[in-house]
Every structure is written in structure tokens, then in C-alpha cells.
């Protein structure tokens, strides 16, 4: 018996809409099957299942908008073995779980069926269902916390009460009181940490809140235009009008004579605008969180690409036009390989703890024509050949622009690469996509004067930049990392 839940498809996702079910009760599913299509603020995503079994019951109908962690369907015949597999893949899972319930990560072994995390409103409650049976630590908060980390730890009734109210797991706290006692301040601090910025209150007027509640609108997705960016009546009305203008329904003002308004097949300009606004807001929230929480440091180096370019030219001569490689693929591959030397660039920062990933899923920043940016992953980019990588990149960019991405692509990049070279910029200093710890940027490949071996020549060069999380690494390691990218690009045979 297993639950298939609304996954968190990125740190900025709080809820999603089931737009299509690809299975029905009675269907047999296997790990990795795409079972549903979920629409988020950013795009439409095919969601894979991580358990095998038979679909017992579908609990959330198409069109329903539900918070992350909501059980979408129940499976039967899923054994624990199916549920807790793949230690190698566990880090990717950690990423999905991380943004919402960081405490889960401390458990160590993390089961593969990721999307169990509950909505941000109740982060602590989410600990319950997520904790796998094998976990030897957490037990439900009970008056006598037997089996707590320190045997025989005692918590005062006041503390227990407070912890329960704030949803804090007492056994996970280090007490700062006498003899390691957990104090009120400890609990309150922990509560603040777990609620975090994602639980931030949306500034909105009372009227806007009332209207939103009446129309079932999630205020956090409504861009605010009122004083101090607050959401006011007008903003909610706009969303309401967008929502109601989509399907035929227009309020019948007259009597029988009302004719049906023809329904446009394409989303109206207003709807598109609304989605763009929502996406802008989602990006804004995530980037603001990144800049607020992540102590970025930045490095930059200019890399001579003459041997890489020459190699690329030769390699492309052997390929049909449709299979030719582009320079960004070399840059992607070099980045993916360089993390082997400096692994702390690849992974996540969870609860102020760096968690390097063993696999390399490179997120590729793709700008969308309708505005906004999305950074889905190319899985195991370090292991793909350049041709495979080229295909993956084309495929990914195409699907991202069409808005059809898979859940795992959305949620598990371990490092991101952004390339603004085609726009002519020389360097890009990016903002890290939480909870990742590094972002590599490439500018334009341009002919530059280049001194080498005491001679001045003209070489194709690119400026590579690194934005990295100072909690996870220091400038020294960052420098080594950029140096490694440079080294790999000097001998493209390395990249094959």
C-alpha cells in the first residue's frame, strides 16, 4: 500500500493542479512510469511514480488544485522494498524534500518515493508520514520521549506544550539551557527555522482575503499592486475574471435570451498575462529567498577556447547537420565533469549543512518566450557523451518552451548552468537556485587578444563565472573548480 502524492517540483512550488491522469484504478504501474500531468505556475509537468504496484484509487480529480504533499492516488501491492531503494539516487530525493521539510533530511536514509512532503503550512506534521519505517530516531512526540537521542531526556510540560503548538520535534533539538535542557527560546528558534520564508504571510487586504476565500484563490499566487506590494481587491478581481473568462461561464445578466459566449480554444491574452505574472512572482520569491539566505560569492575567469573550437570544427565535419554539436554543449560537459574534482559545488544546502550529490544533474537555464526562466535538469550529464548531451539539450529546451517537463527534471538539478552568450553579454553572475549551492555562468564566445607563451594572438575566449554558496565552499575551492573547467576545455578529448 502506498500513497502517490503531489510532488514538489521545485523549491518555489507550493501547490499544483492535476491536469491529466495517465492511469486509472486497476492499472499496474512501475517505478519511473509517467502517471499524471501536473500544472504548476511555471509549466506543465509529467509526473513519474517511484513505486511499483497497482493503482487502487484516484483521490484527486483532474482540475483540482492541491497543496504539495496531498495524496493524489493510492497504490496497492507496493512493498517496502519498492519504497526504499536506490541509495545512490537518494540525494536527488533529498532535494525534493528539502525545501519544505528540511528536518526530514537529517534522517539519513531517505526513501525514494519522494513526493511525500506536506504543504508548507504544516511542516512539522509532515514529518509523520514521511519518516520511513526504518528510521530509528523520530518517534511521535509523546509525554515521555523514550528513544530520544539522549536516553532519558526530559522536557518540561511547558516546553512540550509549546513544541506541540509550534510543531517542533523536541528530540531533534540541542538544548541551550542548564545541563542541555531545551528552553523556550530553543523551541521558538526551531519553529522559526522550520516555517522559514516559504511560510511567509502574504500581505493582503482583508477584503482581498475574503474575496480570495470566496473564489478559492490562493493569495500567494496573486501579484499584489497595493500599498507596499500588498494584494488588494483589484488584484484578486483580476484573477477571478481571468479564471471565469476561461471556460464559457460569463455571468448571465439577462434572462433566457442569453446566448452562449463562444469559447476560445487558445488561452486568451489575459490568461497568458496572468500566468506570466504568476511566474514572475514565483521567480521573484525564489530569487529573493536565494539572495536573502545564501551568502553568494562570485569568481570569474576567462578561458581560451581555441583548442575546443578547433576540435568542435573537426568533430562537426564528421557529423550530419542535424547532429552537429554546439559550443555550449562542451561548456555543459566540462562543468558536469569538473564537479568530480570539486564535489562541494554539486549538491544541496540543507539546514545549513552541505550535502554534496553523488550524481550530476545539470540544470540548464532556459528562458521562455512568454517571459520567465526555468532550469530543468539533464540527468547524469557527466556520464553522457557529447552527442547524447546535445540531444538531451535540444530535447529539453524544446519541451521546456512547450511547457512539458517531467517532474524529476524540474526538481532535481544538482548544479545549474546559465548561458547568456547568445545575447552578447560577456559574463553572467547568476543567482543560485536554492537549495543548490552553485551556478556556473558563461558569456559570449568572442575573439580576443590573448597572450600565451610570450606571444600575443587572437583567440576565441569565454568568460566563465561561478556563483557559489559560501556555506558550502570557499573561494579557494571555487577557484579550483573554475580552473578545472578551464583545464578540461583545453583538451576536448577529455570531454568525450
Amino acid at each position: 500500500m502506498g500513497d502517490f502524492r503531489m510532488p514538489s517540483l521545485g523549491a518555489d512550488m507550493d501547490a499544483g493542479t492535476v491536469s491529466e491522469w495517465l492511469v486509472k484504478p486497476g492499472d499496474e504501474v512501475h517505478r519511473g512510469d509517467i502517471v499524471a500531468v501536473v500544472e504548476t505556475e511555471k509549466s506543465t509537468i509529467e509526473v513519474e511514480i517511484f513505486e511499483s504496484g497497482v493503482v487502487d484509487e484516484i483521490l484527486v480529480e483532474v482540475g483540482q488544485h492541491v497543496p504539495v504533499g496531498t495524496v493524489l492516488a493510492r497504490l496497492i501491492g507496493t512493498g517496502p522494498s519498492a519504497a526504499h531503494t536506490a541509495p545512490g539516487a537518494s540525494v536527488a530525493v533529498a532535494h525534493e524534500a528539502a525545501p519544505n521539510v528540511p528536518s526530514v533530511i537529517e534522517e539519513g536514509p531517505i526513501r525514494r518515493p519522494v513526493p511525500t512532503v506536506a504543504a508548507t503550512e504544516a511542516p512539522a506534521e509532515a514529518v509523520g508520514p514521511v519518516v520511513p519505517a526504518m528510521s530509528e530516531t523520530r518517534s511521535a512526540p509523546s509525554p515521555a520521549p523514550a528513544g530520544a537521542t539522549g536516553p532519558g531526556r526530559v522536557f518540561s510540560p511547558v516546553i512540550r506544550h509549546l513544541a506541540e503548538r509550534l510543531g517542533v520535534e523536541l528530540t531533534s533539538l540541542d538544548g541551550s539551557g542548564p545541563g542541555g535542557m531545551v528552553t523556550r527560546a530553543d523551541v521558538e528558534k526551531a519553529a522559526k527555522r522550520t516555517t522559514g520564508p516559504s511560510a511567509r504571510r502574504v500581505r493582503s487586504s482583508p477584503l482581498a482575503r475574503r474575496l480570495a476565500a470566496e473564489h478559492g484563490i490562493d493569495l500567494s499566487a496573486v501579484p499584489g499592486t497595493g500599498p507596499g506590494g500588498s494584494v488588494v481587491e483589484h488584484d484578486v478581481q483580476l484573477v477571478v475574471s481571468l479564471a471565469t473568462s476561461e471556460p464559457a461561464a460569463r455571468p448571465a445578466t439577462g434572462t433566457e435570451s442569453v446566448t452562449k459566449v463562444p469559447v476560445a480554444e487558445e488561452p486568451t491574452a489575459a490568461v497568458v498575462e496572468g500566468r506570466q505574472a504568476a511566474m514572475r512572482k514565483a521567480i521573484g520569491a525564489l530569487m529573493a529567498r536565494s539572495k536573502r539566505e545564501i551568502p553568494h560569492y562570485y569568481l570569474s575567469t576567462t578561458i581560451d577556447l581555441s583548442s575546443a573550437s578547433a576540435w568542435l570544427e573537426r568533430a562537426n565535419l564528421e557529423r550530419p547537420v542535424s547532429k552537429r554539436l554546439v559550443a555550449p554543449v562542451l561548456l555543459l560537459k566540462a562543468t558536469a565533469l569538473a564537479v568530480a574534482r570539486v564535489p562541494e559545488m554539486n549538491g544541496f544546502m540543507v539546514n545549513d549543512e552541505s550535502m554534496p550529490s553523488e550524481v550530476v544533474h545539470v540544470g540548464v537555464a532556459v528562458s521562455l518566450r512568454t517571459g520567465g526562466v526555468i532550469a530543468p535538469a539533464i540527468h547524469n550529464a557527466d556520464k553522457l557523451s557529447l552527442d547524447e548531451l546535445m540531444r538531451a539539450l535540444k530535447n529539453l529546451v524544446g519541451r521546456a518552451r512547450k511547457g512539458v517537463l517531467r517532474s524529476s527534471e524540474m526538481s532535481d538539478p544538482t548544479i545549474t548552468v546559465t548561458n547568456l552568450g547568445d545575447l552578447g553579454v560577456e559574463a553572467v553572475f547568476g543567482v543560485i537556485y536554492p537549495p543548490q549551492v552553485a551556478l556556473v555562468g558563461f558569456g559570449r564566445i568572442a575573439q580576443r587578444p590573448w597572450a600565451s607563451d610570450g606571444m600575443l594572438g587572437v583567440r576565441p575566449c569565454v568568460t566563465a563565472t561561478l556563483s557559489a554558496d559560501h556555506r558550502a565552499s570557499d573561494g579557494h575551492r571555487g577557484g579550483l573548480f573554475l580552473g578545472e573547467i578551464d583545464r578540461l576545455l583545453q583538451d576536448p578529448e577529455n570531454l568525450r
Binding site: S205, P206, L207, G226, P227, V232, E233
Partner: protein, 324 residues
């Protein structure tokens, strides 16, 4: 229909009351031979004689007390206190006697007293003669507080105030006396318990009273040019407050700006704001805004006094800051 000043309308009201009921008399400093400090009672001494238009010594506590005694004795006194600033000397009589005797006597003695006084700033009278303390009086249970802001109300509020079995205080804003408006020839008593909508609008409610009503109306006029429909409410009766009129407007407009010449802290505007929040919270689309006097003793210099008082531009700015 004729055009009269606020002062003349007030005088008509006094004349009507004195003529209608022989128990009515007016007393206060300089109300008789001088014709009233603001010339409201000019000519009444000649018309009604010294028995009914009585000059008093400069002793607010004594003559307000005498007024309370006369009211208890069956008369219908109108006591004029030159300005609200001097009413502080009579505060004990008003708060501890006039407002409480009905209660203290177990309902046996009511005090049908009317106290008129000038209030407000704007005439370069500096820090001791420019108070707007209406809000203080509205704190006191047992009295009714009126603020006629129009010629019609100046004409019509006195008689119903005299008919009220309990003490009524009428605040006349000093800048209003020379204000002219049309008054129907048959103008008479008005109600003294409700607020009035003085300018209709759908986008924001501006709540004002007394001296700030004209500020609010002028602001509303300018806002129309900006495409904002401001509904202006004249509170008229400051105690008991007509919350229903205010709330029914805010429920429509979703925004409120309270304009009050009193100092912001502990002002009547605070009470109005609180009531809006209590009763119309879920209809508010923005915090209630207030435009009040600067919290300083009123400056003498004209430009500083203007700076300290709520101005039309302040009201317009406050409305725009709410996003309307």
C-alpha cells in the same frame, strides 16, 4: 432661499429658541453688551433683554455650574463658553456634574443644558487658543456632542439640542462663522443623531466633521478630477457616533480616510478608525488612513500653522496613498 453666514444662521437659531420657549436663556462672557466674542449674539440683548441674555464674569466653572443649576431647576439654559480652550476651566462641572447627575440621582434629575463653544485653529491664535478638543468630550458618557459644519446645521441643531433632556455640547469651528451658504427660508430643526453624506463617491470614504468638512469636500472635488470618486461623510454628531452611516459607506468604497483637526494620538479619528476596523474589517482593501493635526502646540506663524493643520493636499495625498 437666502444666502446667510454660519454666524447669522446660529443667531437665527438662538432667536428662534428664545422666542419659542421662555425657559431658554443665554449666558456667557460678553454675550450681551459686546454681542458675543464672535458676534453671534449681536443684537439679542436689545431684543430679549438682560434677563435672558446674561453677561457673566470670567469664571467658566462658576457660570457653567450656574447653568447646570438652572437646568436642574427647570430652565433651558444655553451657556456659551468663549472657546474650547477656556472650557477646560469648566471641565469638572461638565464631566463630574452635568454628565453624571442623572445617573447619580438614580434617574431623578436630568440636566437639560446646552453648552456652545468655539473650537479649532486656523486664525493665528497660537498654542493656547487653537485647540480642537472635541475628541475629549466625546469620551464622556452622559453628554451629546454636536459639530455643525454647515449653515443648515448651524441653524437647525440648537432647538433639538435644547429639547434633549440631557446635556448637549455644540462645537462651532471658528473659521466657519464667516462661511456663507444658501439657507431655505423655512429652515428649522435637523436631526442630531446621524452622520450625513455630503458628497457621493464609490472609491474612498473621507470622514470629517466641523472645520475639516470643507477640507474634505475640497479634496473630493480635486479627486474627481483625478478620476477618484470620494464619498465625504460629515459626522455631525460626534457622540454618540453614527457608526452605521460610516460603515455602510466603507463597505461600498473599501477605503477610508479620517480627517480630524485634533492631534492624532487618542483623537476622535482614532475612534472612528477603530470602529471601521471593528465593523468593516473584511470589507477593507487598505488600512484606514488618518489626516490629523501635527502633534505640536499650534504655531502662531501663518505658514507653520498651515503646515500643522490638515490641508486639502494632505487629504488628496492620503487618498492616493491608499491606492485609489
Amino acid at each position: 432661499m437666502s444666502t446667510v453666514t454660519y454666524r447669522e444662521a446660529m443667531r437665527q437659531a438662538l432667536r428662534e429658541a428664545l422666542g419659542r420657549d421662555e425657559r431658554v436663556f443665554l449666558m456667557g462672557e460678553d454675550v450681551g453688551r459686546y454681542g458675543g466674542c464672535y458676534a453671534v449674539s449681536l443684537g439679542l440683548l436689545e431684543e430679549f433683554g438682560p434677563e435672558r441674555i446674561r453677561d457673566t464674569p470670567l469664571s467658566e466653572s462658576a457660570f457653567v455650574g450656574a447653568g447646570i443649576g438652572a437646568a436642574l431647576g427647570g430652565m433651558r439654559p444655553i451657556v456659551e463658553i468663549m472657546t474650547v480652550n477656556f472650557s477646560l476651566l469648566a471641565l469638572d462641572q461638565i464631566v463630574n456634574n452635568a454628565a453624571t447627575l442623572l445617573h447619580m440621582s438614580g434617574g431623578q434629575f436630568n440636566v437639560p443644558l446646552v453648552i456652545r463653544m468655539t473650537t479649532g485653529a486656523g486664525r493665528q491664535l497660537a498654542a493656547q487658543h487653537s485647540h480642537s478638543l472635541e475628541g475629549w468630550y466625546t469620551h464622556i458618557p452622559g453628554i451629546r456632542v454636536l459639530a455643525p459644519a454647515t449653515v443648515e446645521d448651524a441653524r437647525g441643531m440648537l432647538w433639538p439640542a435644547l429639547c434633549d433632556p440631557d446635556p448637549v455640547i455644540i462645537f462651532e469651528h471658528g473659521v466657519l462663522y464667516n462661511f456663507e451658504d444658501e439657507l431655505p427660508d423655512d429652515a428649522g430643526a435637523v436631526d442630531i443623531s446621524t452622520a450625513a453624506v455630503r458628497h457621493p463617491g464609490d472609491d474612498v470614504t473621507i470622514i470629517a466633521y466641523g472645520g475639516t468638512l470643507r477640507t474634505a469636500l475640497e479634496a473630493a472635488k480635486q479627486l474627481v478630477a483625478d478620476g477618484v470618486g470620494a464619498e465625504v461623510i460629515d459626522l455631525r454628531c460626534l457622540r454618540p457616533l453614527d457608526t452605521a452611516t460610516v460603515v455602510s459607506s466603507v463597505v461600498r468604497t473599501h477605503r477610508a480616510v479620517v480627517v480630524d483637526e485634533g492631534w492624532r494620538t487618542g483623537s476622535l479619528s482614532a475612534e472612528v478608525s477603530a470602529r471601521i476596523t471593528e465593523e468593516a474589517f473584511y470589507d477593507l482593501d487598505a488600512p484606514v488612513a488618518r489626516v490629523c493635526s501635527a502633534e505640536v502646540p499650534m504655531p502662531y506663524a501663518k505658514h507653520l500653522e498651515d503646515e500643522a493643520l490638515p490641508q486639502v493636499s494632505d487629504v488628496v495625498a492620503a487618498v492616493h496613498a491608499l491606492g485609489s
